[in-house]
Symmetry: C2
Subunit: 241 residues, 2 copies
């Protein structure tokens, strides 16, 4: 069995200008591992129609699920919904169910402006994604799931969306810490990786005070294979003294 694959397209000048540190891709990565969906690409593009459409075309053709983050608010720089409609070549307009959700979010109907209603514009054929924070929905169309950039809202929308997606086998990981540099263990590690082609074996050097060490991370959907590899790694570590 092969796990479903995914990518995230983050839309936002504020990330590329260094003003804001991206948070949603990191959150998504942690959530997808648990449900057995393999995240294979993260991409950040500016608030630019062409860049968004190109990113959507490339990623939606390459993976099973594309998650987007950002650009679905009421202001002039919120152009994601229109770009998604353009990418799927469908029309976009205010939809009644989304309009009701936006109106409820604004509270006083007399204060509902055309700008608020921009948030109720949904591409034809999309399904809404609930937002437990501000009430204004995201949406899914084809294999693209369009969510907010505000981290608390992204988290809420992902919680609403994930149970509806097909799961794969959850990937579990274990870490073995070596207090020697990568160069000293690269060779036995290479042998171990060759013995276990079904495992993902990553080597991550670290500096901790005056110790230059290496964390070896083993990842697999098979807990027994994982246990065996960890035992071999621990044996290697002990043999280094």
């Amino acid at each position: 069995m092969t796990n479903p694959t995914a990518a995230i397209l983050v839309i936002g000048d504020e990330i590329l200008s260094g003003r804001t540190r991206e948070a949603n891709a990191y959150h998504l990565a942690g959530q997808l591992v648990r449900v057995g969906i393999d995240l294979v690409e993260m991409r950040v593009v500016p608030d630019d129609h062409r860049a968004i459409v190109e990113g959507l075309h490339a990623l939606s053709a390459a993976v099973d699920h594309v998650f987007t983050s950002g650009g679905i608010g009421p202001t002039h720089d919120d152009i994601t919904a229109d770009a998604v409609a353009a990418a799927f070549e469908v029309s976009i307009d205010v939809r009644e169910d989304a309009r009701a959700m936006v109106a409820a979010a604004v509270g006083d109907p007399r204060r509902l402006t055309d700008d608020h209603l921009r948030m109720a514009r949904i591409p034809e054929g999309a399904t809404l994604i609930a937002n437990g924070i501000s009430g204004v929905p995201g949406f899914s169309i084809g294999n693209v799931h369009v969510m907010a950039g505000v981290p608390s809202i992204f988290v809420s929308m992902l919680d609403a969306l994930l149970p509806s997606l097909s799961r794969g086998e959850a990937v579990v990981s274990r870490e073995v810490r070596f207090e020697v540099g990568e160069g000293r263990i690269a060779s036995p590690l290479r042998e171990l990786a060759a013995q276990h082609p079904e495992l993902s074996l990553g080597s991550y050097p670290f500096a901790d005070g005056h110790i230059y060490g290496t964390n070896i991370v083993v990842r697999s959907t098979d807990p027994a294979a994982l246990d065996m590899a960890v035992a071999q790694l621990e044996g290697l570590r002990d043999s280094l003294g």
Copy 2:
């Protein structure tokens, strides 16, 4: 004058699996703003030869500078240098100046292994990038700058590299905080953006305790235009009472 453009290609399963939060793209974004190089894309791909080569081809054709992060250590999962050589269709081998730097980094020449020497494999025609932390170099080839994934080393290599790149006009930014939601200011903001096509005007909703507000960020290479826009925004804020 148009600023040079840039993209970063981060290589690492550990980011996509949610184990590690990406740090180098965020650092790069902040540094490039200061020297007038416009970062237009961030991309994270796995430790996979084809994914790296495809990312390099796409990004190096689209922007003036591609920075890469990760995958240049001595272990089996460090495949970036070979992928870069493949992308540029050049050979790769141990180079004497890089070998001397790696040997100095390892210290004792009797402990220098074939795995260490993997870090001295440099694509034909590349220039080395100094590493003030561990001594093992990165390299530039064409418009691609290949750097380490360990954040302290990435920072050191970028410090060594940046002064050699052509600068553009630094982008300065100012922020005006509104204690009202985006919906209430979207309309005047849209007018302001239309009046100042030379400015980048971003709107970022926030929640701060019980206040739902909006930060407006104005960015420009022209300080006078920036001052004028900020004065207009402050006038708008005061008029909302």
